[in-house]
C-alpha cells in the first residue's frame, strides 16, 4: 500500500523526468546546429555576399537587411507603443473605450504572423503603394510588436509608486510634467527591456516579411527604405526549401547566425534588466 509520501516521491520524480525531457531538446537543438556550423562560420561568411546561387559565399546582405528591419521596427513601434501605454495607465478612465483598447491589445498579440503578412501586403505594399520595401516590412513588424511594447511599458509605469505623482501634482506640476519628470524616468528600465525583447522577436520572424520586403537575392545592399532587402529568417527558409543541392553547412551556419543574433538581443535585455534592478532606489 503506497503511502502518501511514497506517492509524492513518485509523482515528483515523474514531473522531474518530464521536465528533463523537455529541457534536453533545447540544448540538443542548439548544439546540433552549432556543431554542424563549425568551420563554416568565419569572418568571410559574415562579411561576404552569397555566390553561385547561394551555394557558396556568405550571408552579409541578409544580416544587414535584418538589422535595417530591426531599426525600422523600433522607429515605428516605440512611439505608438509607449504613448498608448501612457494613455492606458495615466489618462484612461475605467470605461468601455479603455476595455476596448485592452481587448485590442490581446487580439493583436494573438493574430497569426502570416495574417500580419497579408495585412502588411494589402495595406503598405498595395494600398499605400510603398511596394515591397523595408518601409512596408518595418511597418508590418512594428504593428506586430505593439502588444509586447504596450504591455511592458504599462507594467513599468504601474510599478512607479503612486506617491511620486501625488508629490509632483501637489507642487503644482501639470499632468504631463508629472509623467515626463516623475514617472517616465523611473519606468525607462522596464520600457527598455520590453522593447529589446520585442525586437528580438521581430528579428526572427519570417511570415510577416514574406511578401512585404523579402527578396531572394539582391546584388546590392538596399539604399533607401523603399528598396527591398534580404533578411536572415527568409534567407534560411529559401536556402533550405528552394535551392536544390544546397550545401548543408551553409544552411546550418545561417541558422546558427540567426540563433546567435536573437540570443544576443535577448542577452542585452537581460543585462539591462539586471543592471537597472541594481540601481533601483526605492
Amino acid at each position: 500500500m503506497k503511502s502518501p509520501t511514497t506517492r509524492e516521491k513518485v509523482a515528483f520524480i515523474i514531473l522531474g523526468i518530464i521536465t528533463f525531457f523537455v529541457i534536453l531538446p533545447i540544448f540538443l537543438t542548439i548544439f546540433y546546429v552549432a556543431k554542424n556550423s563549425i568551420g563554416t562560420i568565419t569572418w568571410e561568411f559574415i562579411s561576404q555576399y552569397p555566390r553561385n546561387g547561394m551555394k557558396e559565399g556568405g550571408i552579409l546582405p541578409a544580416i544587414i537587411g535584418t538589422i535595417y528591419l530591426i531599426v525600422g521596427t523600433m522607429i515605428f513601434s516605440l512611439p505608438v507603443g509607449i504613448l498608448s501605454a501612457i494613455y492606458l495607465v495615466e489618462y484612461a478612465k475605467d470605461n468601455f473605450f479603455t476595455r476596448l483598447i485592452k481587448l485590442s491589445i490581446v487580439n493583436l498579440s494573438g493574430i497569426p504572423s502570416i495574417v500580419y503578412g497579408l495585412f502588411g501586403f494589402a495595406l503598405f505594399v498595395i494600398f499605400m503603394q510603398f511596394g515591397t520595401s523595408i518601409l512596408a516590412g518595418s511597418l508590418t513588424l512594428a504593428i506586430m510588436s505593439l502588444p509586447v511594447i504596450v504591455t511592458a511599458t504599462k507594467e513599468a509605469l504601474e510599478a512607479v509608486p503612486y506617491s511620486f505623482r501625488e508629490i509632483s501634482l501637489s507642487l503644482g506640476a501639470t499632468k504631463w510634467q508629472t509623467i515626463r519628470y516623475c514617472v517616465l524616468p523611473y519606468a525607462l528600465p522596464g520600457i527598455l527591456t520590453g522593447t529589446v525583447l520585442s525586437l528580438s522577436r521581430a528579428a526572427g520572424e519570417t511570415a510577416p516579411i514574406l511578401f512585404t520586403v523579402a527578396a531572394f537575392y539582391l546584388p546590392r545592399l538596399p539604399r533607401s527604405i523603399f528598396d527591398q532587402a534580404m533578411a536572415l529568417p527568409y534567407h534560411l527558409y529559401v536556402i533550405s526549401t528552394q535551392v536544390p543541392n544546397m550545401p548543408l553547412q551553409i544552411s546550418f551556419a545561417t541558422a546558427f547566425v540567426l540563433i546567435i543574433l536573437v540570443f544576443l538581443i535577448n542577452l542585452i535585455s537581460i543585462v539591462l534588466r539586471v543592471h537597472f534592478r541594481k540601481k533601483k532606489q526605492w
Binding site: 501634482l169 507642487l171 503644482g172 516623475c182
Partner: protein, 249 residues
C-alpha cells in the same frame, strides 16, 4: 480682519458617502490653525479640498464654494492653485533624486531655470525648514539617505520652494520621533512670519503647543472653532470637551 481662506457650505462626497457636511470656516492670514478630531472626521478631506487633490481619487464630488483672498478657487487652474497652497503629507515622501533636485523640482516645473535663482531658493527653503545646517555639505547626495525626520523637513523645504501662501500639514509628525517632531514644530513657529499654516493633527497636545486657533471636526462637521487656549480650557460643546479629555478618539 482680513480672511485668506473661506468656505461656504462646503460638502464633500466619496462614493456617495458624505464626508464633509456644510462646512463654513474662515482662516486668517499668517495664523497657525489647528484641526483636531477622531479618524474619518473629514480633516484630510478638508485639506485636500483646498488644493483640489481630492479629485485625484475616484468618485469624488463636491458642493459649495471655497474662496482664496476673496476669489473663488474654481477660477484658478490646478497648478496655479497648488502653487499657492502647498501640502505636507503624513509619511515623508521624497523623490529618488538628490536633496537639491527634490527641492528644485517645484520651481523648475513652474519655469524657473536659472541656476543662481534655484541655488538661492534651495538655500532659503532649507534654512526655513531648519534643515540647512545638516545637509549643506551634501546637497547632491540622494535624499533617500536622510532619516525620517530629515526627510519630512525636506518635504517642508520642497513645499516652501514654490513660494506658496498657505502650507497645509496632514499629521506631519505621526511617524517621527520626539526630537524630529520638536524641530518641525520649531520650524512652524518660524514660518508664521511668512506663511499661513493649517495643521491637522491627531495629537491634541501638539495642537495645544503649536496652534493659536483650533477647530474640532467630528464626523464631517465643524463642531467648534476658537482660540486654542479657550478651546482646550473651556470648550462650548460637550463633544469637544469629551474628545480633548480623551473620553473617545
Amino acid at each position: 480682519m482680513q480672511i485668506i481662506i473661506e468656505t461656504k457650505n462646503l460638502s464633500a462626497y466619496f462614493d456617495n458617502n458624505c464626508v464633509l457636511k456644510n462646512l463654513n470656516i474662515e482662516v486668517f492670514p499668517k495664523e497657525i490653525l489647528g484641526i483636531i478630531g477622531p479618524a474619518n472626521s473629514g480633516k484630510t478631506t478638508f485639506l485636500c479640498a483646498l488644493n483640489r487633490l481630492n479629485y485625484l481619487k475616484p468618485n469624488y464630488f463636491q458642493e459649495g464654494e471655497i474662496y482664496f483672498l476673496g476669489k473663488n478657487i474654481a477660477e484658478l487652474s490646478d497648478n496655479e492653485l497648488r502653487k499657492k497652497i502647498g501640502i505636507i503629507f503624513a509619511l515623508p515622501q521624497v523623490l529618488p533624486m538628490s536633496i537639491y533636485n527634490n527641492i528644485a523640482y517645484g520651481p523648475k516645473v513652474h519655469g524657473i531655470r536659472k541656476k543662481s535663482i534655484l541655488d538661492e531658493l534651495v538655500e532659503i527653503s532649507l534654512k526655513r525648514a531648519y534643515l540647512w545646517d545638516e545637509v549643506k555639505d551634501r546637497l547632491h547626495s540622494p535624499a533617500l539617505k536622510l532619516s525620517g525626520g530629515q526627510q519630512q523637513r525636506l518635504c517642508i523645504a520642497r513645499t516652501l520652494a514654490v513660494q506658496p501662501d498657505i502650507i497645509l500639514y496632514d499629521e506631519p509628525c505621526s511617524g517621527l520621533d520626539p526630537i524630529s517632531t520638536a524641530k518641525i514644530e520649531e520650524a512652524m513657529q518660524e514660518l508664521k512670519q511668512h506663511y499661513t499654516q493649517i495643521l491637522v493633527t491627531n495629537n491634541t497636545k501638539q495642537a495645544a503647543r503649536v496652534t493659536e486657533r483650533c477647530s474640532f471636526f467630528l464626523m464631517g462637521e465643524l463642531i467648534e472653532i476658537d482660540k486654542t487656549s479657550t478651546l482646550f480650557t473651556s470648550p462650548k460643546d460637550k463633544r469637544t470637551d469629551d474628545y480633548i479629555r480623551g473620553k473617545f478618539g
